[in-house]
């Protein structure tokens, strides 16, 4: 079940301005029955003041499509045509208290219907730039053609860039694989045509690498070869590593001292501001990471209570 806001439900169950506007002088039709969504927006515009006096809609579609259509009419009645054109689909969604990401396209349909109806009023025609290839990103209504165009024209070579240019994958990100496939294909076509350096082309294998959750870029064990050390050497290295850290802790009003080294357990005492600090575990983690890198062997830093 979709998580609709009360306002969406209210505008679905009791839509305002539903029906045919007999004396409309601007009509916009968007969507199609094949897509499962279609909206006819009818406007009555005062030719002198250009104020939208009345607006009505007929919608074939889901609950949020009907609610978005009704919200749109509420938002534009009383506005001038040029004011109304400043509305975005986000305004429609906001008016309804938000829409589920998968339903954002319903607000996009309202936005497009408004443009179509105003173009019709002005005697222009409005060209729908949708429905080119498969719809990839349902949240923002981005189809394959839009992604391909953005990639070619702007020489995009990363998923982040595609999101910035088209919004695709920007919300629920369930379409990430589909968008990735388009980016990969278009980039390789661009390389083949000599429009893009092969080095720069998007490489999906690189993105499939597992990513570390924490700030560690690589395992500290991976960078340091294991060294054969005497206990004294180990303790000296540990002490000097802690010494290097102390100025930073002191700057925050804290401190740290080595209590004991027991095999691979390093006992330390945190004092001053470090005690009871929310970030103490981060501090311990930082010390541990540093010691592992210096010693080249796994160990565990354990804080012990102060006296």
């Amino acid at each position: 079940m979709w998580d609709y806001t009360d306002k969406v439900k209210e505008y679905f169950y009791n839509p305002k301005n539903a029906g045919v506007l007999e004396d409309a002088n601007g009509i916009g039709d968007v969507g199609a029955i094949s897509c499962g969504d279609a909206l006819r927006l009818m406007l009555k515009v005062d030719p002198d003041s250009e104020i939208i006096l009345a607006a009505k809609f007929q919608t074939f579609g889901c609950g949020s499509a009907i609610a978005s259509s009704s919200a749109l009419t509420e938002l534009i009645i009383g506005k001038t045509v040029s004011h109304a054109l400043e509305l975005t689909n986000q305004d429609i969604a906001d008016f309804l208290g938000g829409l589920p990401p998968e339903k954002m396209h319903c607000s996009v349909m309202g936005y497009e219907a408004l443009r179509a109806a105003i173009a019709n009023y002005k005697g222009d025609s409005w060209v729908d730039d949708h429905e080119e290839g498969a719809l990839l990103c349902k949240c923002f209504g981005v189809d394959e053609g839009m992604v391909e165009r953005a990639v070619r024209v702007n020489k995009l070579t990363s998923m982040e860039q595609v999101t910035h240019f088209t919004k695709a994958t920007g919300s629920c990100s369930t379409c990430i694989e589909d968008v990735e496939a388009v980016l990969t294909r278009v980039n390789s076509e661009m390389v083949a045509a000599g429009d893009l350096d092969a080095e720069l082309a998007y490489n999906p294998a690189r993105n499939a690498l597992p990513q570390r959750r924490d700030r560690v870029k690589s395992s500290p064990l991976g960078t340091a070869p294991k060294k054969e050390l005497t206990l004294l050497q180990r303790i000296r290295i540990i002490e000097s590593a802690i010494e290097e850290l102390r100025p930073y802790l002191k700057a925050d009003g804290g401190d740290c001292e080595l209590v004991d080294v027991d095999g691979d357990r390093v006992l330390v005492k945190l004092s001053g501001a470090c005690v009871g600090c929310q970030a103490a575990s981060v501090t311990i983690g930082g010390i541990q990471e540093r010691l592992i890198a210096k010693l080249g062997s796994p160990l565990k830093v354990i804080p012990v209570p102060g006296h």
Binding site: F12, P15, D29, Q58, T59, F60, G61
Partner: protein, 398 residues
Amino acid sequence: MRPVYLDNNATTRVDPKVVSAMLPFFTEQFGNASSMHAFGSEVGSALKTARGQLQALLGTEFDHEIVYTGSGTESDNTALLSALETQPGRDEIVTSTVEHPAILALCQWLQKNRGIKVYYTPVDSRGRLDIDAYRKALGPKTAIASIMWANNETGTIFPVEQLADLAHDHGALFHTDAVQAVGKVPMDLKTSEIDMLSLSGHKLHAPKGVGALYVRRGVRLRPLLRGGHQERGRRASTENAPGIIGLGVAAELALEHMQDEQTRVASLRDRLEKGLLQRIGNAFVTGDAESRLPNTSNIAFEFIEGEGILLMLNKEGIACSSGSACTSGSLEPSHVLRAMKVPYTAAHGAIRFSFSRDNTDEDVDQVLAVMPGVVERLRSLSPFWKSGEKTSFEPTYA
């Protein structure tokens, strides 16, 4: 007002008798069936009884023909992957365009990533399989043919026995996804040509999270999950004892209610269907009315969209489902209705009512009272519905 639940093909209410049979196996008899102590052996004998109960519903001869799984989907995946693995040299699958995603998505993945050739047998406008196309698709390279026993959206029943026979002509295995059929139609697998059959507990008043794969004696099976020796090494995982025991009781109850399902439940469905078509114009039944599950009715209401219908019915306490794009998270209407070439004008407005033995005459009355108003209201909002025109009782498609 009592809520009206008519979405039993999605899931069913767990029968209270099933729940009470399961409960001791959470708290008292909680042992691992493999353990060498009393806790384990108590569970072991209860599992044996449960297996016998499921065997009785399916009409199987040997207890080892049942492999418990976690879901219908797992059973389907196991069957297809095993068939490919046990028959090197056979790298083709024959299935249909109207299968459940548990089969279709796997087939698409096998095509893309394993180079498997998949034939999707089409259906006609009433959802009946094109037998000639099926026959032509079978060949010496076919590893397995997998055709559902009954379709989940329209209830259309496929002639699985004949289809299995045809597959065997080519030395191919035959699997059927019987998730919607088990418990609703009588089965006698000991006399059947079917090699593998998938079922799921929660469609027959057992809990979610338990399913089974029937594997006919002699059919080789490669496990999907490797690990312990459970299910004779064919499905490793500690037995889901409460689930399996619940499924056993549910199977026994299904057998008891089979007659009721075939008669009373079917007549409830028929009364709803007739009543709706009398009251509402531009609507038609999809699927094969001659050969259908007794509990399922799929009606397409032209020029309106399913989600709106569901939301309005929900407000009146009526639960059913829709093949519409908007309810599924995808933007395409039901692949089943598209495969049947139901036009878009109607496919988006198709509503599935699925009954169970829990339903009553009052449920039907309530839907008949509410539905005409809902359809009329949504049609008045639809730009494709010509208001003022006399409502036609002839759909533009039938």
